[in-house]
Amino acid sequence: MDISTQNTEAPPPAPGPPVAAPTSASRGATRPGDRIFLGLSRGSGIFLLVIMAAIAAFLTYRAANAISKDHTNFLTTFEWNTNLEPASFGIAVLAFGTVVSAIIAMALAVPVSVGIALFITHYAPRRLGGPIAFVVDLLAAVPSIVYGLWGALVLVPHMDGLFGWLDHYFGWTGVFEWQGGAPRSMLTVGVLLAIMILPIITNVSREVFRQVPRMHEEAALALGATRWEVIRMSVLPFGRSGVISASMLGLGRALGETMAVATVLSPTFEINASLLDPGGGTFAQNIASKFSEATPLGQDALIASGLVLFVITLLVNGAARMIINRRKEYSGANA
């Protein structure tokens, strides 16, 4: 797409590539600098595509190699054992765990992040907003393995109370049923991931809310709107696509998070309807924990699972892009 837009901006009546056709210099002069820059930028664009194609080809080749040796169904098997004769592995549990943990993380993190961003930009006194923004930034700088250690040593032992409460009042739903195992389940992972993606979503949302045109807000205030009504009528609609983009950034991190999940989750190859009982796993966590002892076939199988994660991420991002496009009229570009 980038390349095509560049082409249209180059001398329009040119029949061929403008570099090769010096006669097309009818509209202003093309000096060497222009040609060099065009060549460089076009080369960079093509280089990127070549790298992507090479990576995709490599992944697909290795993945196809593994899947052809998998004697069970790659998509529906609840097992990961590449050392068996014949090998048996499948991504059903991993796909489930990845999606569920990411959904929990988003459900917890997005409202809180938007709340923090609104507080910093519209409610907090200047003296308080700065430090809060700073603390949120700090959260983003903590490496994920540190979150993992904190999660395993502090968060997990303290989840018992919440789990007991959920089981007592909502156990009848089946989703919050708890057998009393160590609280190292999908819900714990979701909570940890939510904390990890909070700073990204908050930061981007804050910048978006800050760019709401002053006129919109003042107009609303002039009509007698309260502060909440201003936020509801001008800030949130204006910032919606920005918040969605911010959430997608966070979602990307949640889907791909490896070490923190591997440290906190108790992965087992079964799908558990309850979010409180151990079970499930995520793609990235599985790759991290299985790679060091994997045979060549095992590595291919893990690469195949990585390819599935890649596809899931693409689908999610594509969906987000569609949502944002549909709400284009609110985006900052048109304001």
Binding site: T82, L84, G181, S266, E270, P278, S289, S292, E293, A294
Partner: protein, 373 residues
């Protein structure tokens, strides 16, 4: 401007995290380091450097990492010309690196498979790789149960616990083996490894050999039974046992260090056997050499009837070429292996909570090492 500010914040925090991590690792290595230093000074005189020098690259099993570390420290103190880098990448990766000719020797917690022997021929210049048993280690079953300090279990009960067939601590099968213990009705939380591991392989091999009717899985490095809970690495399992009431899990004895009680195994002998270094060596001495020619891979005896033989053990091998080792690393490899198979080298193992290889087998190892070329 904003970006710069954020970078600086990130840097400050990064620096904090790094120094924190350094402080943490410093604490971690202290425990293992302390036990080794006293032995180091005494064993120096026995090390023969011959004309070994240069760098020795090796990789493989992480189960023997602490043993190798102790040996390297003692060895390089005497032989200043040699530098040994052991990278605990895991047995599988270690064997692959060796067959690709990247390392001088590999560490593995299971003997070479036939296809790996075939693959090694290229790296060994037509000859082949052999297994040398060098480190033994008891796999302890650690548990956490308030009010219960000692517990006896047999293989069948263990298999049922880890397969989710026995779910309460006051189950009849456990009570029968522990008539004097006050068992609570706590739910059993059985933890297994979430990563692939030689420890899992050896543990399930034991269950399969002794209780085949209760453990129906084929075994291997990946955990196969459904249910239960899992954690990453032996240290992760030990951590879970420490903080979870009703937990039970398996890991190398050295991880059972502070405050974790271990299960006594009911074997063919009259009295239950404690997980200890001496008891593991006793069990390994009943093992038979299964390898052909110079290969010394062992077939462990999982049903010993001797008193005090702890059969749930893991043996790690050093893998080298029988012939055709690289000329520039051969002197150093031979000299180092000679040292670790020597009496002093094996004695060092006990301090690090590993089990020395019994005399009869280690003397064969010594003969084999002297014939390496």
């Amino acid at each position: 401007m904003k970006l710069q500010r954020m970078n600086r914040r990130a840097l400050t925090l990064g620096a904090l995290a790094v120094s924190g991590a350094l402080a943490l690792t410093a604490c971690g290595s202290d425990d293992t380091g302390k036990s080794n230093t006293d032995a180091t000074t005494s064993s120096n005189s026995a090390i023969k450097c011959d004309n070994a020098k240069g760098q020795l690259q090796a990789s493989g099993s992480s189960a023997q990492k602490n043993a190798i570390d102790a040996w390297v420290k003692a060895y390089t103190a005497s032989c200043k010309g040699v530098q040994i880098n052991y990278n605990p990448t895991g047995s599988g990766a270690g064997v692959t690196a060796f067959t690709q000719g990247q390392t001088a020797f590999a560490g593995s917690d299971s003997p070479l498979k036939p296809e790996e022997v075939t693959a090694s021929k290229k790296a060994c210049g037509g000859s082949q790789a052999i297994d040398l048993p060098m480190v033994g280690g008891p796999i302890a079953i650690g548990f956490h149960l308030s009010g219960v300090d000692s517990l006896t279990l047999d293989a069948a009960t263990l298999a049922k616990i880890f397969d989710g067939k026995i779910t309460k601590w006051d189950d009849e099968a456990i009570a029968k083996l522990n008539p004097s213990a006050k068992l609570p009705s706590t739910k059993i939380q059985a933890f297994h490894r979430s990563d692939e591991s030689g420890t899992t392989d050896n543990f399930t091999k034991y269950l399969k050999a002794v209780a085949p009717s209760d453990w129906k899985y084929s075994g291997g490095k990946a955990w196969q039974a459904k249910g239960g809970q899992s954690a990453q690495g032996s240290s992760g399992l030990a951590q879970q046992v420490k903080q979870t009431e009703g937990a039970i899990s398996y890991f190398e004895l050295s991880y059972a260090a502070d405050g974790i009680s271990t299960v006594d195994l009911k074997t063919g002998a009259a009295t239950p056997v404690k997980a200890s270094v001496e008891n593991a060596t006793k069990a390994i001495s009943t093992a038979k050499v299964a390898g052909t020619g110079k290969d010394l891979s062992l077939s462990l005896n999982y049903k010993p009837t001797e008193e005090g033989a702890y059969p749930l053990t893991l043996v790690t091998y050093e893998i080298v070429c029988e012939k055709g080792n690289k000329a520039d690393t051969l002197p150093a490899t031979k000299s180092f292996l000679t040292y670790i198979a020597s009496e002093d080298g094996q004695k060092l193992l006990t301090d690090a909570k590993y089990a020395p290889i019994p005399d009869e087998i280690i003397s064969k190892v010594r003969t084999t090492i002297s014939s390496l070329s």
